[in-house]
């Protein structure tokens, strides 16, 4: 039998990713079980839950969550918005960057229950296939990625960076603190330093953002 002609073997990329995730989880559970001493079973931890309502990409969401759930895990695991990526899960890489109430934040370092009433915009909310956000289109045009894993965070961050410059927020490299900051590649590189690209696509990322900044100016 040729598996390509059997519907049972057809999987979307998302299903494949989810299945891959659960097999990884099983591996972790099995090795944890091996590592734990058999005589001292850990008592089951009481899970504390809380309710939160927030708006994600314009859609109101009412959730009851384990209080430990980060905003990142809500987006990916509960709302299945898997565009936002988990890189380091410690605020060091920027792959999880989303825009909350108009500001970019690391969604991995924010508890979902602390976002009552928040307006969250993820990469899915910036644009869609066929109607890309100008920043998404510029990343495509300038080849601002290689593996693409950091890209949603880079794009959300870049959109917010242009807004920050527009609102007059200074940066470490702004020469005159009292002047309004203006866009430059130096400014852009400093402001984007919270988004790491392990492939090193930085020069193309900078070109993409510069093009959008020029169009806005």
């Amino acid at each position: 039998m040729n598996p390509q002609h059997d519907d049972r073997f057809k999987m979307s990329r998302r299903e494949l990713l989810l299945a891959g995730g659960s097999s990884l989880a099983m591996t972790a559970t099995a090795s944890d079980a091996l590592a734990a001493p058999a005589e001292t079973p850990t008592p089951p931890e009481t899970v504390s839950k809380a309710k939160v309502s927030l708006v994600v990409n314009g859609q109101p969401q009412e959730l009851e969550l384990d209080t430990r759930t980060t905003l990142l895990d809500v987006l990916r695991e509960h709302l299945k918005l898997i565009g936002t990526k988990k890189g380091c899960d410690h605020g060091q890489c920027g792959a999880c960057t989303v825009i909350v109430d108009g500001r970019r934040i690391n969604s991995c370092l924010s508890l979902a229950v602390m976002h009552e009433g928040s307006q969250v915009t993820t990469i899915e909310g910036l644009g869609q296939l066929g109607r890309l956000h100008p920043m998404q289109a510029a990343f495509v045009k300038h080849d601002g990625y290689q593996c693409g894993y950091c890209t949603p965070g880079q794009i959300c961050s870049a959109v917010a960076v242009l807004d920050e410059i527009g609102r007059g927020v200074p940066s470490h490299v702004s020469a005159d603190l009292t002047a309004r900051p203006t866009f430059s590649v130096e400014e852009l590189r400093e402001r984007m330093s919270g988004n790491i690209c392990r492939c090193g696509a930085y020069s193309n990322i900078a070109d993409a953002i510069t093009e959008v900044a020029g169009a806005k100016a």
Binding site: S48, G94, T97, R104, L109, T178, G194
Partner: protein
């Protein structure tokens, strides 16, 4: 992460009372440091008191012409405030040299003061650390200590305080305003807010259990040229090896504080007196009694050279 219960409070007094009442409770505001530590089970609060709803998110002019910064003012907003940029440039510069844009959007004024050390052994739960587990020993002494303290350390701990903002506040003679669990307010000079490690490095500050930071007050502007110079292993988004916060007047007098060298923002009165004589004299006063490790002895000359650059820049 260990499980915890969660509540939101509306006033500083409610916040302080909640943390004092519930064993293992902690305040959470921006959460950028606390959640990181909770994921690693270095911090394991059983109850979180979310203080984001208490207000305290404004910067106001005080009657004497200084500024009162609410505890919940975000680092981005403090750095971007017109009055801070004009009159307290060293503070804007320090904030902008720290963390990333994403983190500064979340991190608060009080949270920045309360952040924990980034000593690698504090983060590595497989290693002894007196700050994480009192009495377990210090792995940094004799270990990898390139980033760590050269002055004010003890045989129990050579951790540094990671904040840039606090170094600028130290040179500005800021005060920390608090509310205690019994509702009483008090004011702590920034010089007395962070502790030296001594034999109790697990205690970072002089706050009492449940005591809540309501804000930070800056005295009237000191004038002069404000400079914050940070030396680090990469050009952006890294903790300081050495940083210098300085306010230098036209006549060469001024004040100086250091980051990246001690368990707290480091300022020595004698160094301010020596400042007109130049970087060598001021650095000698700042580093009197220094006990570097072989890994971080380079910080002694780095302090003097960074200070020399700052004084040259101040002369314009």
């Amino acid at each position: 992460m260990k499980s915890f219960t969660y509540e939101r409070v509306r006033t500083p007094a409610e916040a302080a009372a909640a943390v004092a009442r519930i064993p293992g409770a902690k305040f959470i505001a921006g959460g950028t440091n606390l959640l990181d530590l909770m994921k690693l089970q270095i911090e394991t609060p059983r109850h979180l008191v979310d203080v984001n709803g208490v207000g305290l998110d404004r910067i106001e002019t005080t009657v004497d012409g200084g500024l009162r910064i609410g505890a919940l003012v975000r680092n981005t907003d403090l750095a971007a405030d017109e009055r801070v940029r004009r009159d307290y440039g060293v503070l804007s510069r320090a904030l902008l040299s720290g963390a990333s844009g994403q983190l500064r959007n979340k991190a608060t004024t009080a949270g920045n003061l309360l952040q924990r050390t980034r000593c690698p052994y504090f983060y590595d739960t497989a290693q002894p650390c007196n700050k994480r587990q009192p009495g377990s020993g210090c792995s940094a002494i004799g270990g990898v200590s390139r980033q760590l303290a050269v002055v004010g350390s003890s045989p129990a701990c050579i951790a540094t305080h990671p904040s840039d903002m606090a170094v600028a506040m130290r040179v500005l003679d800021a005060s920390v305003e608090t509310v205690r669990p019994d509702g009483q307010a008090r004011r702590i000079a920034i010089a007395d807010f962070h502790r030296l490690p001594g034999d109790a490095p697990h205690i970072d500050t002089t706050l009492e259990p449940g005591e809540f930071i309501s804000g930070v007050t800056l005295p009237p502007p000191a004038g002069g040229t404000h400079i914050y110079r940070k030396v680090r292993d990469r050009a952006s988004y890294a903790f300081a090896l050495v940083s210098v916060a300085a306010i230098v007047q036209r006549d060469g007098s001024g004040r100086v504080a250091l980051g990246g060298v001690a368990h707290k923002p480091w300022r020595v009165d004698e160094a301010d007196r020596q400042l007109p004589r130049g970087a060598k004299a001021a650095a000698a006063a700042l580093l009197a009694g220094a006990k570097p490790t072989t890994n971080n002895a380079f910080k002694l000359s780095l302090v003097e050279r960074t200070l020399a650059t700052v004084l040259t820049q101040a002369r314009g």
